[in-house]
Symmetry: C2
Subunit: 337 residues, 2 copies
């Protein structure tokens, strides 16, 4: 009999989709033949109310996942030869999309696994068009805090647009995490992107969003299709926003899961990066990371070699339910014993 | 009491979604928290079997609707200053996307509402990067036939990629409609795009695809995200492909609906373009088209002013069920009496 896979490779919310969203999908699926009309603006309005800081639905743009929003930003901002600046290791799509648009990729390293804003600032030139900041950073799980980020933005030349990718913002415990809507409201040239894929457990519904200044968002909107997202997806996303129980449970699973994993990794004598996200990354491994991933796979455990994020020396483990993590720890113990 | 809307403005399949697809969505919605793994290739494989002519899954690329596939094509092919050539009136996104990428829009007019391939050929220059052919053309409903298209492709310089947008190909009755897969297989520099939005009634599932030469598709794939489409959408699309009853019913509705509409429009003394698509377009109207659309809306009938397709003199009516068309005809009769 085939054993069930322990899916800790893709930062999926293993509690499952928001039950309120599921109910809407099942009830409304028979509308899938029609295109959305007002639903994108309805969702944008509900999101703007949640975001606050004066962000309105017109500041928002909804996409087919936040990766799609990021693609639309690159598509409408990066011309051949423009410089796109971001730290490495970080999420893989900034590099890929810049390459597609024949932009010039400029990277600065992390400092002790944290994004180094000073170094980034030093790398800005007249040609810098975009800066990507993944916060918390994938795959290190570390955050940039509000005060240093605001100082950084104040020093940036006006022609540089900063995209803050907050895919994992919902899992942050640190009270000094940036109040990014405030940064937009205060006039900084910033777009913040977020997703329904993680906290709400809707990775395959494909709903993400971004918000920034009206003129900037108008420009990004120029490449957006009216039916970028389907009617049922909008309706389900709206339902997820009201699903407080699922939200609380997901956050609790993540925080407890991180702490449990730290404790067990300590017992195994493994080094890791404390994380504010839906994953924990293991470093200084006692065997080649690719080998560890392959061995884990033989035990039906999926974890992620972070080479795709330009961090070839590490392995990322998503936070799952307690039972998933217990199985994962047992398997790691077996492999490394 | 608010009357129900008669939705004949957006070329939606008013029979509703494929019931087999619906069943899969309801059964599998609890997987929406996970990302697809192999499902995109599975769907591509099933599509390639259906397409034939030696097209394999590697020749295929699936997107968030065929509009997304078209966006990825423009994104990976059009650099500032490149010329993008297409007839007008035609579907609106070719113009919009070319503009976003700062390409040069080159348009040629239709001839008696048909795409004029001679005129297109004459407009090709060394800078022409893409040609868009919407076949059947939206909003005129007319087709280019196989033989003239093949002759056209033979005369085209090699550096020009032709995108044949076949969103409405499933509704064509003419036996001389292009066997476009054959054109790809015969080495012509062509990408064909199609959608699950129309025949399968899945507009809001957001699944479309394109196929072309391996190297061309590889280039387009460079901007595609692994999770361009969600796992349940892939599964539902695969189910729709097996739903022969829904397919037959949808085609029957469309063909009968077109014939019924011609007959009733004749009685009303209205001129129209005979169509091979899911819509019929009215021309030589006895009142301004915008006014006709607005009057219809007051009677809860939604039809489309084709000004957005650069055909300001016409109005497009989607084919719906017999009952929808009867209501629409009655309303038009009332307005125009």
């Amino acid at each position: 009999m085939e054993q069930e896979l322990i899916r800790l490779g893709s930062n999926e919310n293993l509690l499952g989709p928001s039950p309120k969203a599921l109910e809407v999908i099942k009830n409304n699926a028979d509308q899938l033949h029609i295109y959305p009309v007002e639903e994108d603006w309805q969702l944008a309005e509900k999101l703007s109310a949640k975001i606050g800081a004066g962000i309105t639905k017109e500041h928002l743009l909804i996409g087919n996942g936040s990766a799609d929003v990021i693609r639309m930003i690159v598509q409408t901002h990066v011309m051949p030869g423009d410089e796109v600046l971001f730290p490495l290791p970080s999420f893989a799509i900034y590099k890929r999309l810049t390459h597609v648009h024949r932009g010039v990729i400029v990277n600065v390293p992390l400092k002790d696994h944290h994004i180094d804003l000073e170094l980034l600032l030093g790398a800005v030139t007249e040609k810098t068009k975009l800066i990507f900041l993944c916060n918390p950073n994938n795959p290190t799980g570390k955050i940039i805090k509000h005060e240093p980020l605001e100082q950084f933005l104040k020093k940036l030349p006006e022609h540089v647009l900063v995209v803050i990718d907050e895919a994992y913002c919902d899992f942050v415990e640190d009270p000094d995490f940036p109040r990014s809507a405030e940064l937009v409201a205060n006039g900084h040239n910033v777009i913040v992107t977020r997703t329904f894929s993680k906290l709400y457990g809707l990775a395959s519904l494909r709903v993400g969003y971004g918000f920034g200044h009206l003129e900037t968002m108008e420009r990004v909107r120029s490449t957006r299709h009216v039916s970028e997202t389907g009617i049922v997806a909008y309706q389900a996303a709206m339902a997820a926003l009201t699903d407080e129980a699922h939200e609380v449970n997901s956050l609790e699973m993540t925080i407890n899961g991180r702490n449990y994993l730290y404790q067990e990794l300590d017992k195994l004598g493994l080094n890791y990066l404390k994380s504010e996200a839906l994953f924990v990354t293991l470093i200084d491994l006692p065997m080649p990371p690719a080998q560890l991933v392959a061995e884990a796979r033989k035990h039906n455990l999926i974890i992620r070699h972070t080479d795709v994020f330009d961090m070839p020396e590490a392995v990322r483990i998503s936070i799952g339910r307690q039972e998933d993590l217990e199985k994962a720890v047992a398997i790691l113990g077996q492999i490394l014993k």
